[in-house]
Symmetry: C2
Subunit: 195 residues, 2 copies
């Protein structure tokens, strides 16, 4: 399918690299393609969002209100622990999920998807410190502790924090092919040091 719009959910105490990694990759992809392939919006329940550990204060593009996106990205962070107890916020997120085509979580964004029943019987990824919470939210979930991401077509889950970058490259390959993904990789020089 053609991706014309990308939405990135933000919320109080979202983890910085969870959303900044994918935003960089998809932003760079738009840029190196020499034309705008899709719109990218940050979207949150309120205009101003404090990022986890007070690292950044962000003014979002849109107030969350049932927007529809071709790709809706749901990052993690400590804020997700509050969201899964907040029915109003959960149904707000659900409205946009229902109107969107592909949903991808990063890190503990998976907790929101699990709480909404969207991961039932699926093999998924999440942050290693949230495996227990995830399994309590949905005991039918199988956690893949090795993979960087699991792709089930219109539901994708990435592992913790930096795994969102690898997931984004995977999605670029899926949408636009290996060669284009390599061009973007080169632009952001994503050839990490060996551990």
């Amino acid at each position: 399918m053609e991706i014309k719009s990308i939405g990135m959910l933000l919320f109080e105490d979202v983890e910085l690299l969870d959303f900044a990694g994918p935003l960089e990759v998809f932003g760079a992809a738009n840029y190196v393609n020499d034309k705008v392939e899709y719109t990218i919006q940050t979207v949150a329940p309120k205009k101003q969002v404090q990022i986890s550990k007070s690292l950044l204060n962000v003014n979002v593009d849109q107030i969350l209100d049932g927007q529809s996106y071709d790709l809706f990205l749901i990052p993690g962070g400590f804020g997700t622990r509050e969201i899964i107890k907040d029915d109003a916020m959960l149904s707000l997120i659900k409205r946009t999920i229902d109107k969107s085509q592909i949903i991808a979580s990063i890190c503990t964004g998976s907790l929101i998807l699990a709480k909404l029943g969207l991961l039932a019987d699926k093999e998924v990824c999440s942050h290693h410190l949230a495996y227990d919470v995830l399994e309590k939210l949905d005991p039918t979930v199988r956690i893949n502790k090795e993979a960087r991401y699991m792709d089930h077509g219109n539901i994708i889950t990435a592992a913790g924090v930096s795994a969102g970058i690898d997931m984004s490259f995977h999605l670029l390959k899926r949408f636009y092919g290996d060669e284009f993904a390599s061009t973007v990789r080169k632009y952001i020089e994503y050839y990490p040091e060996k551990v």
Copy 2:
């Protein structure tokens, strides 16, 4: 030396991952250490900064005005092309550099350091699309096109965009040792997929 304060320079058209990568690593390090080891501030010539490719709009912590930091981080992005032509901005940045202990650039943040004469005769890293500009700004510079970063004690330069993450882990090792850096690496699950 002991790091008690970290400043991250922001400016119009700064590249998102250039600063978000290091902020995540140093923010996570502060967190997993179970006590605040250092303060982290974003600092810019004005309160609100538009990030490159309009990916994000950020409210910074401090207006740039000769602050002093133990570690002053200078990211890159298209905005650096304007800064190197802007004498007022350059001397504003220079005031904080002069009062800071360790200066680390990411990506085309190196252009600012070169323009200020701080990279003379040094082997440095930068973004591959800026090698020519860097060499014109200071012909005595030698560019290392393979390394992720070059560390000259109180001047460190990282390669393009995502290399700031690797440079940050290098600095964590230097300041706090390998084991602590590994703990932070685990927290943000920075075990990238092989290319």
